[in-house]
């Protein structure tokens, strides 16, 4: 590496080559799983405590590994252009590679302990990458916030699986599935641990009320945002629920809770996305909303719903990566994230225009883009499961999705040309950035047709019977898209009614907008309930903290002593 540091270009492309290799290996895994079934291999590790190092690759793991590494590769290639002139690139590429590697390790882990180790590596990498520009106070704050908020979930996950271990004596997914299906684990414990693990997944996947870190995470470089939103990090939570689904699915409470968490997140986040003016924040709230769709699909409680969630994960990964990289291309050339300062960019950046158009169409769910297939599958599965309330709320979320994506699209690319663009004599981004965009465009166009193939890979014949196309459902979601598109088109393309005047004429909408802009006050609430009292307490006990390690250790030693005493007494 020392040698490589003299030729930064080679060093940067080396990172891309590494991810390309792992991508090919992941594809190889898919082929192997398809020809010879799931692969499990384990070596003894801490056998005194019953832990083994287990690599378990089934269809789900191989599928996710391929998604993570393909998107990771495209993002690393795009970084060559986007991050070209930054300082601290060795740190950037090292963390990105660790990030992708940890995510791959997470999806092939065969037990909770291993998953948890990679889970933490993913968390720390994301925090470091969000605060990549450590001289910006907001970036440092955002990184810390991401770390602390996901920590709440991580603690719950840790308690959950340790509790499960204390009850059953194993952390292995397959053994736990067998034990749970044979009824060896009491239903109450199954529900409790399942809910704790759900909290862990909510922290990572930014579901309400633990979603507050994700919009702030936009302070990092756009490539990092793309990585967090499409390939790694947020997918970990959905994956965890999908992986542990066979263990906990016998608890109806758990399944219902998962579904409602998703529905609420999808609606709340989509509604906030309709008012934000920061292009990256629109995409961030969109991610929370799309992840909500996945949780809602898992909450359908059927195998079809399970498959729909994972298929939507793939779909979301590709169209969100495309959306972020297109947004990054604009930000890179224009130097701002504020959509009010953009406008009329379609002639100056034709390729970015096409990329963002494709991403918008895919997120809204217009056929034949990949979003159409996966979102439709989710809605269909909800209706098959008879969850009509959730179904209606999801359709409402679809309306909002279509509205906010077309709003962003029209605001950025249509209307009068922005002053900033004329001042900077804006032109298209370099080839190294547009080529990955075009590849992703092709992906979102064709990947929707891989539905049958993916069903084969993930679950075989059992899932095929769940894939049905019912015209009323497709019609309903098409209508939802149009209902969202129409006001967006009128307000932001035609300018009739002018959005600003319209808001002034309707003060109720104005106050609603303010509530949405404040993100329903979650941040303010957390600040008042947790952050401020905690800072007060810390100041109060400041005198106990001497800053001298030797002094501070004595209380810990005393507690340790008491603990040993307690154990001895028990013996």
């Amino acid at each position: 590496m020392l040698l490589l540091s003299r030729w930064p270009k080679i060093r940067n492309w080396f990172a891309a080559a590494v991810v390309a290799t792992t991508f090919l290996l992941a594809v190889n895994l898919i082929v192997e799983v398809q020809t010879s079934g799931p692969i499990t291999s384990s070596v003894p590790w801490l056998s005194a405590y019953g832990f083994q190092l287990t690599v378990h690759v089934d269809g789900l793991a191989a599928f996710l590994a391929a998604i993570v590494n393909s998107l990771g590769f495209l993002i690393v290639v795009y970084s060559q252009g986007y991050m070209g002139h930054e300082k601290g690139l060795p740190r950037y590429y090292a963390l990105v590679l660790l990030f992708i590697g940890a995510m791959t390790g997470l999806v092939i882990a065969g037990n909770f302990l291993q998953l948890y180790i990679f889970w933490e590596i993913v968390g720390i990498c994301s925090a470091f990458l969000i605060s990549f520009w450590y001289d910006r106070p907001e970036a440092v704050r955002a990184g810390l916030k991401a770390f602390l908020v996901t920590r709440v979930g991580d603690a719950a996950l840790l308690i959950g699986f340790v509790w499960l271990y204390a009850t059953t004596g194993t952390v292995d997914f397959q053994r736990l599935t067998t034990l749970a299906s044979q009824g060896f684990v009491p239903l109450s414990i199954l529900t409790a641990t399942g809910l704790l693990i759900l909290v862990g997944a909510m922290g990572k996947s930014a579901q309400v009320p633990l979603h507050v870190w994700l919009p702030d995470a936009m302070e990092g470089p756009t490539t990092v945002s793309a990585l967090i939103h499409a390939a790694t990090m947020v997918n970990a939570g959905v994956y965890l629920i999908a992986r542990t689904y066979p263990i906990f699915s016998s608890s109806q409470t758990w399944v219902t809770t998962v579904g409602w968490v998703g529905v609420i997140s999808a609606l709340l986040a989509a509604s906030i996305a309709t008012v934000t003016t920061d292009i990256k924040r629109v995409l961030a709230y969109s991610t929370i909303s799309q992840l909500g769709f996945m949780f809602a699909a898992l909450g359908a409680g059927t195998q079809g719903g399970w498959f729909a969630s994972q298929f939507h994960l793939m779909s979301q990964g590709f169209f969100k990566a495309l959306g972020f990289l297109a947004a990054g291309s604009i930000i890179h050339m224009l130097g701002t994230r504020d959509m009010e300062k953009m406008g009329g960019l379609r002639k100056r950046m034709p390729l970015t225009f096409i990329a963002f158009l494709f991403s918008t169409l895919a997120i809204a769910g217009v056929p034949p883009f990949v979003g159409f297939w996966s979102k439709d599958l989710i809605v269909t599965e909800l209706s098959l499961a008879g969850q009509n309330i959730q179904l209606l709320l999801m359709l409402l979320a679809s309306v909002l999705t279509s509205f906010y994506m077309f709003r962003a699209f029209f605001k950025v690319f249509f209307g009068p040309e922005s002053k900033l663009a004329i001042e900077k004599d804006l032109h298209e981004s370099p080839k190294i950035m547009t080529v990955p965009l075009l590849i992703l465009c092709a992906c979102v166009l064709v990947l929707g047709f891989t539905e049958d193939w993916a069903a084969d890979l993930l679950g075989g014949a059992a899932i095929h019977s769940w894939i049905v196309f019912s015209l009323p459902i497709i019609g309903a979601s098409m209508i939802a898209i149009l209902v969202g598109f129409a006001p967006s088109y009128m307000a932001f393309y035609l300018g009739k009614p002018n959005p600003k005047e319209f808001l002034q004429a309707h003060p109720i909408l104005g106050s609603l907008r303010n509530v949405l802009l404040a993100g329903y006050g979650f941040d303010a609430l957390y600040l008042a309930v947790f952050v401020r009292p905690f800072s007060k307490i810390s100041e109060g006990v400041r005198s106990v903290q001497t800053g001298i390690l030797g002094k501070n250790l004595w209380p810990i030693l005393a507690v340790l002593f008491l603990l040993v005493l307690w154990i001895v007494m028990k013996l």
Binding site: S47, G547, L549, L553, L557
Partner: protein
């Protein structure tokens, strides 16, 4: 008590004695030595935990070796910080270096 349990008890003793060293010393270098002893204890516990029928296994021992090498580099960093501290404050006694306390 078999070999494995013996090793585990010994690891616990090492860990606690390292802890005690850090808590009781007023010398930064000794503090790092105590830290090192704690790491030995942890490594020994990991090694003992990985024994199968009294025999070490490849994977767990290789992880222990990795842990030892990481521990060594951490100690090197800590010692270099101690040297800097000594140059700046002229003392190795943390009780006299009061900058963090205020």
């Amino acid at each position: 008590m078999n070999e494995q349990q013996l090793l585990q008890v010994f690891a616990a003793i090492l860990f606690v004695s390292g802890f005690g060293t850090i808590a009781s010393t007023k010398n930064l270098v000794k503090m790092i030595m105590g830290f090192q002893v704690m790491i030995w204890g942890a490594n020994l516990a990991l090694f003992a935990g990985g024994l199968v029928n009294g025999q070490p296994t490849y994977f767990s021992s290789s992880l222990v070796v990795l842990s030892i090498s990481i521990g060594a580099s951490v100690e090197a960093l800590a010692l270099s910080l101690v040297i800097l501290t000594y140059r700046k404050f002229g003392t190795l006694n943390p009780w006299e270096i009061k900058r963090l306390a205020h």
